[in-house]
Amino acid sequence: MQTDFTAAQLRDPAIREAADILGTCVHYGFCTNTCPTYVLSRDENESPRGRIDLIREMLESEAPPKAQTVAHLDSCLSCLSCMTTCAAKVDYAHLIDRARVHVERRHRRPLAERALRALLGFVLPRPRLFQVALALGRLGRPIQGLLPSRLRPVLAMIPERTQGRILAPQVFEAEGERRARVALLAGCAQQVLDGNINTATIRLLTRHGCEVVVAAGAGCCGSLTLHMGREEEAMAAAAANVRSWMRERRGEGLDAVIVNASGCGTTVKDYGHLLARTELAGEAREVAGIARDVTEFIAGIGLRPAAPERPRLRVTYHDACSMQHGQRVTRPPRDLLRAAGFEVVDVPEKHFCCGSAGTYNLLQPATAETLGGRKAGHIDSTAPDVVAAGNIGCLTQLRRYVGAPMAHTVELLDWATGGPLPPALAGVALQSRPAPQPEEAPAAAAAPAPNDDAGFW
């Protein structure tokens, strides 16, 4: 695509980068049919290349962004489905992030919208504050009608029950011989919404010979604010993490930074880019280089044989967008769950977002609800015993729509290797599925299940 930036504009390295990205889009349009907002609306401005055009126009112009443009960019989920499909490998992720920063700086949103965004940007990354806010939110439910309309969907999103556990900086020792020393990104909102994810992760890692450090000074990864266009806040969060983990790495050593929320994982793996123009650039690249999704890491060191006396459950595995499109981690979670003795099935239309997308379901509740319902329909169609996902955002969003219990992948792996039953399965009648046939599955890209009477081979 031809762009028309002035020399002065191109002196800004951020604009330069955006211009280069814009130049690579050649309008094949492969991406449109995999973009959830386009498929729902068939509005070209709600498609990746439509947005790419709007971003070009917005960045080239000296004028403040048009309200219509802002609306089309706000409705983008940043799910990155388009990036998986794009033949030209257009770096849409960095382009939309740049566009969001531009909007944040140059566009004045209506007061209610501004207040809501500021509130979310301030509260969500701070677990203790978030805990208080959740409690207040629950109290506020009965008087929802009296609250500003923008707040109502936020209250509706608050789960009935949460099992928060906020981890203090500490070290968890490896069981047996120490094979690796890793830092765990304890995260922010996840700790409040579901503390068991970290507990299970730590048990799983220590059981596999890893010493796990929750490093002092590390906190929110910056992803929530980054996707709201609040770049400075995101960079500050990232810088704090980089400093904290590099202190550990230079001290007792660190083999990996483990992330168990894939939305955060995508951001941490991209710290090299986020902090590229700061004095921490080199260290940020180093941290990014050792960042691993927990399933990627466990697959690398090998899962310990599963504890045998458990029912063989059907796990429907939901790929979080950040996992499949952001980090391209799709095999390790499936391989591990299979190795742990579960039957693993895919969700039809798995390339589609569930509507969670960071703060999207709070800011764009209508689209989020449509997508949540659509995803849940597909999940339910697979008749799961339990649904697994590797991202707290998806779990929180989908628990509102899916009938079956939902657990984080690590909770199931922890259980399978000797840990306790995941809380989501407590009190659920669990029936074992038939064992797989002894024949090996074909080593095609997606290992299909063995067939029975369909054909003669």
């Binding site: 492969f30 290349r49 239309e349 063995p450 369909a454």
Partner: protein, 502 residues
């Protein structure tokens, strides 16, 4: 005229299913061909066969031309842009996208136009992965119905997508609905419609492939029981002229159906091109990639001047060992081939594409081809060769010369069946550079002329060249097409100009 048409359609199907926004018209006109974009008059999204009939009747009344697309992913062949600017795109896939039936006893599916390969694959997996649909190595969001109608092909035993479709429902140009095959029987319970291809009377199905005689709203697609094991094999060959040996070996393997899949015989640029852009090209270059450049590519990516890929199906990987041994012996005779086993091939991006294609798994792995050169231009030139090594090499020489004369990079995959190999020639070019755009066009036309002179026709063509190729056909063929068009679509409302008809 057009306004009256849109008013009538709005009144019948609802105004919300008509889109005439500026962005929509611009984007639906886009394609990758040298002839430029073609802006439609509007886009209409019907929701049922009855609505398609109503729209066709309105088009007849108001003299408006319709251009039906199903999933609209015909990239390199026209995308979803119409034959001429000013036609109304009938986008069937948006709303008519249901899988109407999957018969697990007789292994067939019945689909509406909008069902994509990905959606069918997902549904089959959901049902326990007992069946596979034969896929293309193109866009997963493309679909079985549109692909079959354009005589597209895949790589498994059911590669011939039109051949493995069975029974259609078609809205003709006059608005009548026709059921083909066993479906032609009056009545509504038609158990043989999608299982018997040859019924009473003439076989009308073929009329609706690569034509503009009707709008297909439903089609049966046959499915293959999924083999428990798919074990691929791959051989690389060092020299261009090795193609003759390869083709002769493949013929023997296919004539007896020893190998159940087709054999993909791709050149270096084709395979490397799906991995990364040309390392040799810089904008405005008028020369094709050099011999040294090609050698470097092959070394870097570990592939040959030609790489052959195919697969065996069976009950287990181990059970396929004897077949693998025999195919190795066949390719091993001359000592030129290097074997790449299945497990190793899984680590090669380009070979993984072949494995997916042979396994009925849709994927985006090959789309990178289009990025070989920047600027978004892409054309497919699709002639073929009899499965005779010497003729295949003769074709190779013709193509290499013409690509080189136009400063294009010869990128090809020969897809080998028993008697015939389709030569998938890709022309990837900078569409934003007028000189290169003109050379790509001239290259295509020169190829079309040269192959016609050698007595070889194309099997499918980009929209820009439909008229050119129809002009290459004998008069009686052209006249027959015109006569059929006049009979089935007297007002010429369906895709006038498509495949050079009407």
């Amino acid at each position: 005229m057009a306004e009256a048409f849109f008013n009538e359609v709005a009144a019948t199907i609802g105004a919300e299913w008509i889109n005439r926004s500026e962005e929509t018209l611009r984007r639906y006109g886009e394609n990758t061909m040298p002839g430029g974009d073609r802006r439609p008059l509007g886009v209409v999204y019907p929701g049922s066969t009855a609505e398609v009939q109503a729209i066709v009747r309105a088009a007849n009344r108001h003299g408006v031309a319709l251009y039906p697309v199903s999933t609209g992913n015909n990239i390199g062949l026209g995308s979803r842009s119409a034959v001429h600017a000013g036609q109304v795109v009938l986008d069937l896939g948006r709303r008519m996208n249901r899988i109407l039936e999957i018969d697990e006893t007789l292994a067939f599916a019945v689909v509406e136009p909008g069902v994509s390969y990905q959606a069918m694959y997902d549904e089959l997996v959901r049902r326990g992965d007992k069946f596979m649909v034969d896929v293309t190595s193109g866009p997963p969001q493309g679909g079985m119905l549109g692909n079959a109608l354009d005589k597209g092909a895949g790589y498994g035993p059911y590669f011939d997508h039109f051949g493995f479709s069975c029974g259609m429902e078609v809205v003709l140009g006059n608005g009548e609905v026709l059921r083909t095959g066993d479906g032609a029987l009056q009545g509504s319970e038609l158990p043989n419609w999608h299982v018997s291809k040859y019924s009473f009377g003439p076989i009308l199905d073929g009329l609706f492939a690569q034509s503009n005689f009707g709008i297909v709203t439903r089609m049966g697609i046959w499915l293959l029981p999924r083999p428990p094991a798919v074990r691929s094999f791959h051989f690389t060959y060092p020299d261009d002229d090795d193609l003759a040996e390869i083709v002769d070996i493949c013929r023997a393997l296919k004539l007896s159906n020893f190998v159940p899949t087709l054999l993909r015989v791709a050149n270096d640029v084709y395979l490397c091109g799906s991995e990364h852009p040309s390392p040799d090209y810089s904008p405005g270059d008028r020369a094709p990639i050099s011999e040294a450049g090609r050698r470097a590519l092959r070394e870097k990516d570990g592939l040959g001047a030609w790489t052959v890929s195919g697969a065996f199906y069976g009950p287990s990987m181990a059970a396929l060992e004897p077949q693998i041994e025999r195919v190795r012996a066949a390719f091993g005779k001359s000592g030129k081939a290097t074997y790449i086993p299945h497990e190793e091939a899984l680590g090669f991006h380009a070979l993984q594409v072949a494995i997916n294609a042979c396994s009925g798994v849709p994927g985006v792995g090959e789309l990178g081809l289009l990025k070989w050169r920047p600027g978004g231009g892409n054309l497919w030139f699709l002639p073929g060769t009899p499965m005779v090594g010497s003729i295949a090499n003769e074709c190779q020489r013709i193509s290499r010369r013409i690509y080189a004369e136009h400063g294009m990079d010869y990128m090809i995959m020969n897809v080998c069946s028993a008697r015939f190999a389709r030569g998938l020639h890709v022309i990837t070019f900078d569409r934003e550079n007028p000189d290169e755009n003109a050379r790509a066009n001239a290259c295509y036309e020169a190829l079309a002329r040269a192959y016609a002179e050698r007595g070889i026709f194309v099997g499918r063509a980009p929209l820009d060249y439909h008229a050119l190729h129809m002009g290459q056909a004998m008069p009686a063929f052209r006249d027959s097409c015109t006569a059929i068009k006049a009979a089935l679509d007297p007002a010429g409302v369906i895709a006038p100009g498509r495949y050079g008809i009407g």
